[in-house]
């Protein structure tokens, strides 16, 4: 006897027969598949889009907020200060910033002087703009873009240099169309040299308008301190932990240090940016997790409805082929042969539906990206594989579940009755 066919050959023949049967009724098969196709397509596209958006929102939130930062803000002496401690220690001081900066685990402690409106006079015109005192590298650290010249450096700070970084939006009023870097202007009558121009970060997902950044002027905080504030007073310190340091520990020690230095006075406020960022990320997680749960639920229902379509089409197919089934049995096909025939048909339909649906979902992702580019947005949406795997796996389960009864019914037919109708 010739060599027996292997498992693969047997499987291929079963699938081949099923495909032949499916192609014999193209329209009916297409209608059967539609539910599963829609379910799989919506699952893959929507979870991919949700996960992609989530990743983008994450990146935005992480760059807007500062997951490794703590802000200590001056509250000033309370207006109704009567307690001795409040009277003795009025507000945040340079020495606080220095002490924070010297703490182990702290990368930087950057003093800030709040912007106050000043009259700015440039060669091409004048305007009123807030002037803010910042530390070296502060603008860059806060994720703004220095689009011309440079950011403020350590020497500018230590020399109390009269240099300024302009917000992008004030350039035209003061300098017209000429490039401003290297030229001069006056702030409240004092001459400054422009060393750079700063623009804001644009976020893909977060509905955040940072354009106010471009309407300000940034000078060394040392200069702003002398010009705007009483000796020793500052408005804020931005404390950033070293990457290797334990963030919670740094925050706890920083809080303790400031409390001790202020001897119980309530003239400062702590803003835990890290916790805010975490809360925002958690919220984004929750919103998108909820969205994904809804999409999974909708897709499961759609695929199940597709399964019911599959079920009824298989029953129709069994009824139509009663005579054929009878002939097969008369020729020696046993119940297993007939069951396999219909189960293979059911599974082939389900898997083809799911695969077509995943492909359609991938198409929808491409379409979404394309629409994004039409609006000048670059969406990064990688295919969400768990969604695709789930869609195909669930379709297989549906194929088994809804193929089982029709297959059993076909297998149980009596050959003589089936042939005679």
């Amino acid at each position: 006897m010739a060599e027996a066919p292997g498992r693969i050959a047997i499987l291929l023949e079963l699938v081949g027969d099923a495909v032949r049967e499916i192609l014999a009724h193209p329209l009916r098969s297409l209608l059967t598949l539609s539910g599963i196709v829609f379910g799989a397509a919506s699952l893959v596209s929507m979870t991919s889009i949700a996960v992609g958006m989530q990743a983008m929102a994450y990146r935005d939130l992480e760059s807007i907020g500062f997951p490794r930062s703590l802000r200590v803000r001056d509250q000033g002496p309370r207006g109704d200060a009567t307690r001795a401690a409040d009277l003795r220690h009025p507000g945040l001081r340079i020495a606080d910033a220095e002490a924070l900066g010297a703490m182990p685990g702290v990368a930087s402690a950057m003093p800030n002087i709040w912007g106050t409106d000043q009259v700015i006079v440039g060669p091409a015109g004048r305007r009123i703009a807030p002037v803010e005192g910042v530390a070296a590298g502060y603008l860059t650290v806060r994720n703004n873009r220095v689009i011309a010249g440079r950011d403020l450096g350590p020497l500018d700070i230590s020399n109390v240099s009269r240099v300024v970084v302009l917000g992008e939006a004030v350039v035209a009023d003061l300098f017209g169309t000429a490039p401003p870097v290297g030229r001069t202007l006056t702030i409240g009558g004092t001459r400054f040299t422009v060393i750079g121009v700063v623009a804001e970060q644009v976020y893909e997902m977060a509905p955040i308008d940072n354009s106010w950044i471009t309407r300000r002027m940034y000078v060394p905080w040392t200069w702003a301190q002398r010009y705007f504030r009483e000796p020793g007073r500052i408005d804020q310190v931005l404390v950033t932990a070293r990457p290797e340091a334990d963030l919670g520990d740094v925050i706890r020690r920083a809080e303790l240090l400031v409390r001790q230095r202020h001897g119980g006075a309530e003239d400062y406020r702590l803003i835990n940016e890290a916790a805010e960022v975490r809360a925002n990320l958690a919220m984004a997680d929750q919103v998108l997790g909820g969205w994904n749960a809804v999409m999974y639920a909708i897709s499961i229902i759609t695929i199940l409805v597709g399964g019911i379509g599959l079920f009824s089409v298989l029953l129709i197919s069994v009824r139509e082929r009663v005579r054929e089934i009878g002939i097969m049995k008369a020729l020696g096909a046993d119940e297993g042969d007939i069951r396999r025939l219909f189960m293979t048909e059911s599974l082939t339909l389900a898997v083809v539906g799911a695969v077509v649906g995943v492909a359609a979902g991938a198409g929808l992702i491409v379409l979404t990206k394309w629409i994004g580019t039409q609006f000048g947005r670059q969406f990064e949406i990688p295919l969400h594989w768990p969604g695709a795997v789930f869609a195909i796996g669930f379709a297989i389960a549906v194929g088994v579940l809804f193929g089982w009864y029709p297959a059993r019914r076909a297998a149980g037919l009596d050959p003589v009755e089936a042939i005679n109708g």
Binding site: A2, E3, L331
Partner: protein, 224 residues
């Protein structure tokens, strides 16, 4: 000669609602290897019922049945299907070919259900079987493209492809004109001459006359 079929008291009762229909009331049948037997009798006398039992397409309500040395009267399901596949070649009045399959695919079907035979081998044996019945020029065609006589000869090739112990036919010429019917009968005679055991049911006395022996039925019993 050794007995191929030995059936005792075969009974088949159909239940129609509250009424029992006794299609077969205890038939004893013996067929020797190499015989050519015709079953005759009026309509409704139980010829088809008997053939279905002898062909293992159905199970008797009562009675013993030994086919080719194997007790098959009590077999069901998978095991009965296997006997049907290996020992019986059945030809129907209405051909019962699969309309969407080519004739060689039709002929190869019993080998497919036997399992363990590669597709190429099955096809080769089907083609050889068709050629032996003078249908080589029709290979690749669908049943609908063939004449009635040709279709019935395809069905005979299909019944023979698995090398059965017995060839059975229930009114094989019933749906054919006389010329095609005569051709089909010549095929059965040639197969018998070549050593095959043949049992067929017929209404046609001319057909019955060509058999070696006739079994006559009436009202669910064998009367002669």
């Amino acid at each position: 000669m050794a007995a191929l079929i030995e059936a005792r008291g075969l009974t088949k009762t159909y239940r129609l609602g509250q009424v029992d229909v006794q299609a077969l009331r205890g038939a004893d049948v013996d067929v020797a290897r190499g015989e050519f037997v015709a079953i005759i009798g009026p309509s409704g006398s139980g010829k088809s019922t008997l053939m279905h039992l002898l062909g293992c397409l159905d199970t008797p309500t009562a009675g013993r049945y030994v086919l080719d040395g194997e007790e098959v009267g009590g077999l069901h399901g998978k095991r009965l299907a296997a006997v049907r596949n290996r020992k019986v070649g059945f030809v129907f009045q209405t051909f019962n070919l699969m309309p969407r399959l080519s004739i060689e695919e039709n002929v190869a079907l019993p080998l497919k259900y036997r399992g363990g035979i590669a597709r190429r081998e099955r096809r080769a044996r089907a083609v050889a079987g068709l050629e032996a019945l003078g249908l080589g020029h029709r290979i690749g065609h669908r049943p609908e493209e063939l004449s009635g006589g040709e279709r019935q000869r395809v069905a005979i090739a299909r019944a023979l492809v698995g090398g059965p112990a017995i060839l059975m036919a229930d009114e094989p010429t019933g749906n054919l004109d006389s010329k095609a019917g005569a051709e089909v009968m010549r095929t059965f005679e040639a197969l018998h001459a070549a050593g095959n055991t043949v049992i067929l049911v017929t209404h046609d006395p001319n057909v019955a006359a060509r058999a070696e022996r006739t079994i006559e039925m009436a009202d669910g019993r064998i009367v002669a």
